[in-house]
Symmetry: C2
Subunit: 265 residues, 2 copies
């Protein structure tokens, strides 16, 4: 007779192995990376707003002059105090008119904060800069991941959109097995259910709207183009999942031809 | 006749000086610091959740074993890979049973990630740790600020609650000029308006519920204690704003006496 304990031990070990194997695919890494980038997008925005508001106690005029978060944080963390905002130093850090920024320091309405009170503000600005860098780093890591795990999808949809589609469906497998009409409206579930419930017009595109093929076009043709893009994405994902060959370039060529046809009519 | 341009210049300069003076008070620093701590609270939580989920692809068993975020991030960023989770090394970093944590590495269900795929995860964990440290740093800076700008309020309510009251009202001046019955329900505006509109029971405490004098007591006496705490906070804020003397210790003594009376009845 088989020892039940031995049987249990073996079954457990086999299950663990299976779970491990399921995790070992690149899919889960892609999902986590996409979600982390999403989080960091919100986080760095929230950090930047607070950092700007806080440093504005000291140098309020800078806020409107430098709209880009990364440039703002770079200027602040390197120059630190108003008296260091000289055209020569500014010129090395940004393309914005350095003379104009320097002129803002004259008669600034900001409070004259002590070194001790400036320190936590500058620390916060530096953390904000790091969060923006972290996000950029993860975006380039996502490119690598997508290029390794789903090269066709990567070529047709790009790392960001391709990654989001995998994250939204949960795995490359599920994406590959989806009909292209579903892929077309992934991320527009709310509009879809409204359509089903009330008979209002259905959504023409979900997440894939982020594809420049769609978002850069006129409203009238977007629905048709979305259908074409979804079809190619579906083919790319199937090819990737079933370890087919690289057909990304051909898919892009076909897609661009099809879009030209749609626009011609 | 006065040159109108000269007049305009002078008026502008005078206004700028006034704005500058208004910002130079410690109030605005307190408000920003309190809000930054609030932001970092949310941010570090969101980072920690993502970091845990992500590292769990590699070492899922660790998540439940180490509930504290800071300890988790410390362990992960220092030990990095499962084979380094040895009792001796763990013992130096946490009080949690090191043998138990070491045992989790045997037969871990986590995927065997490459060095390249572990790197972004460990980076993310290290950013999470830094956010937690940043928050702790700002909390101790807030203590300094409150001790300088509102020593009485600091003594009666603590840095966190005192700072939140200033941030919520906008300035120490506004807090000082408020009746203590208003201070009692700052932060419970929603419940207050519901009370006015529907005649439901009014709120007994808002933000000041965070005072350990109130939150640690039984529900029946909290309303009365909240009134006493609000009264002392109001006196403390008035004394601080009008640059009176230090009466914090006396206020605390009186408050504790009053609370003992309330509880005795």
């Amino acid at each position: 007779m088989v020892n039940p304990n031995e049987l249990r031990r073996k079954a457990l070990a086999a299950t663990k192995e299976k779970v491990k194997a399921a995790y070992t695919g690149k899919d889960s890494l892609i999902v986590q990376t996409v979600n982390a980038i999403d989080d960091l997008e919100k986080i760095s925005n929230s950090l930047a707003m607070r950092a700007r508001e806080w440093y504005s106690l000291y140098f309020p005029e800078l806020d409107r002059a430098v709209p880009d978060h990364f440039t703002y944080m770079t200027l602040v963390t390197i120059l630190r105090t108003r008296d260091k905002f000289k055209a020569d130093a500014i010129k090395k850090l940004t393309e914005i008119d350095p003379k104009k920024i320097e002129s803002l320091t004259i008669n600034s309405m900001g409070a004259d904060l002590s070194e001790k009170d400036l320190k936590p503000i500058l620390d916060y600005c530096s953390k904000t800069k790091e969060a923006l860098e972290e996000k950029a780093g993860l975006e380039s890591y996502l490119e690598t991941l997508m290029n390794e795990a789903a090269k066709n999808l990567y070529t047709v949809a790009g790392a960001k959109l391709g990654g989001k589609l995998i994250a939204h469906t949960g795995s490359l497998r599920r994406l590959a097995l989806m009909p292209s009409s579903t892929i077309q409206i992934i991320g527009a579930e709310k509009a879809l259910f409204k359509h089903i419930k009330t008979g209002k017009k259905g959504p023409k595109h979900g997440l894939i709207f982020q594809s420049p093929y769609i978002s850069s076009e006129k409203k009238e043709v977007r629905g048709k183009i979305a259908r074409a893009v979804a079809a190619k994405i579906s083919m790319a994902a199937k090819e990737d999942f079933f370890k087919g060959k690289f057909i990304g370039d051909q898919l892009v060529k076909d897609l661009e031809k099809r879009i030209a046809e749609i626009k011609a009519n």
